[in-house]
Symmetry: C2
């Protein structure tokens, strides 16, 4: 039985194996992913992001627990590019394993960045696809770090939760460029701490200014206390509202299309580089280019442009 | 006078402007970068990386101060992908400005991640090239965060300093996968703190195990106390030794070649995607592909492969 077939039958080891293969860029993964594709598109993907220490993992655990009580199969994909140094992903996994590790209804996977050129984005996308085909009804896509790559990954989710936290400085600063606009729901974590109300008010005020001309969904601010789980039922209700809203609005259509486009771009970038490098190496042009660079015969900017023009059909007119 | 000419005459505003243009992917930057290229290749690039809190900025400041005393012109490129949330880059700049901001011999630039697909790597490379042409003799390439992207960026430096710090857990853990192998020199920061000696011993022991069969340069472990600067003279001496070693060894040749190859790959990836997307959009194939995806007519893996084959000359045989 193929790995894909085993995934479709709900074999967690097969799912883990296929995600690893895709992460490593194993060429055999593509055929398996193609087999899985008709069985994807059913999972609902909830993105969770926020600065370090904002309680993302706790929130993910809380949501997992509630959804498990409803009998849903859950996938958790935690994107953690900080692994080379801290081993953060492994640690987070261990902590979670204590809670959900023996529960067959929860599949947990950490993604560390491997390779270059959008490798993390593609690997995360593949992991989500595998868990979707594996039968996870809800997939939590958590970005542990804070880089732009991760913002780009999390924004492909159906509903994006952005966590803010009191005590990490000016709350407006915490949510600057690129973050305000990807949030579907703001979650103010650690609601028990002093200042949570202020963060909530700041966010609401900021939205009124920023969202003056905004149409459609206005991201609400929900307060959640991680350890006790207070606020989680309200959050679940609002996630449900957002889901309904996206299902029947133009915004939902636009997001679906943007997601398809982002993923196709990621896959195309990988294919292009793989095929182009293979072709250039086989023809000896890559070696030649490196030799020219080594002699400083040509600048790398012009050289890259020339190589691209040489291997692309009908290059655009200048 | 062109921007490139102004950079070559040492105009810092022109350098800042060109780096921003390159970072934004402004097409006009390419011509300027081509003009600068013959004037690059003279700077010595020292990479500095390590986990958060290991004292990278302090070390960079210390090195800057010593090199300034020797009358050298210094460039600092700080890669900080954490900006979307924390504004860390801006903060670090402000702190540094207090010390070196009025010194015309020091050019400081923070790079936040913009765009996708290796955008940060390419932008950092461009910044280093501009500062090289600008006349900086030493360029400090500091990666503030800890992702794989940044490891890939810092490893292109001539000499790579990896900081370890006591008190951040098991020191072996701190320096796992991918970090040991990129270090030319280990720096144990905060040498005044308890445990620094232990980190030094752990690193030395680990190297003996890992480096059992290793030929050539064995990364030494240097203890530095950030605030007092004790240990910095020894570090400078060892950087000099490594520089001499690389200038006359096969390892140095290999690294130079790998750096050229990495940069050419980054530039090629950008060119390919730019030209390919333009061509696919113009011919209507991109819209068609997205429509097929929307109907779930075809899986994105096969589609990306097909698109790549269609727009690349002489696709490789299967």
């Amino acid at each position: 039985m193929s790995l894909a077939e085993r995934v479709l039958r709900g074999d967690p080891r097969a799912a883990a194996r296929l995600i690893s293969m895709a992460e490593d860029g194993d060429p055999a993964a593509r055929g398996e992913m193609e087999t899985l594709y008709p069985h994807t598109g059913r999972a609902y993907i909830v993105g969770v992001t926020g600065p370090p220490g904002s309680g993302k993992s706790t929130l993910v655990d809380q949501l997992t627990e509630r959804w498990r009580q409803e009998g849903k199969k859950i996938g958790i994909v935690a994107v953690d590019p900080s692994s080379p140094f801290t081993g953060g992903a492994i640690l987070a996994d261990r902590i979670r394993m204590q809670r959900h590790g023996t529960d067959e209804g929860v599949f947990i996977r950490s993604m560390a960045s491997r390779g270059q050129m959008g490798g993390l984005a593609r690997a995360s996308y593949d992991a989500v696809q595998v868990l979707d085909a594996f039968g996870c009804e809800m997939i939590l896509l958590e970005t542990v770090g804070v880089g732009q790559d991760e913002v780009d990954i999390v924004r492909t989710a159906d509903t994006v939760l952005v966590l803010a936290v009191p005590g990490l400085g000016d709350s407006v600063q915490v949510l600057k460029a690129g973050i305000m606009e990807i949030a579907d729901i703001f979650v103010v974590g650690k609601a028990d701490l002093e200042g949570a109300d202020q963060v909530g008010r700041d966010l609401a005020a900021l939205q009124e200014i920023e969202g003056g001309g905004r149409q459609g969904w206005m991201p609400p601010v929900i307060k959640v206390e991680g350890l006790s789980g207070s606020g989680v039922p309200e959050l679940l209700r609002v996630i449900g509202e957002h889901r309904e809203y996206m299902a029947r609005s133009v915004e939902g259509e636009v997001r679906k299309r943007r997601r398809l486009e982002t993923h196709l771009e990621q896959l195309l970038a990988g294919e292009l580089m793989e095929q182009a490098l293979e072709s250039l190496r086989r023809s000896g042009k890559w070696e030649e280019a490196l030799a020219r660079l080594g002699r400083r015969d040509c600048d790398p900017y012009r050289l890259a442009q020339e190589l691209a023009e040489q291997i692309l059909v009908s290059p655009p007119s200048p």
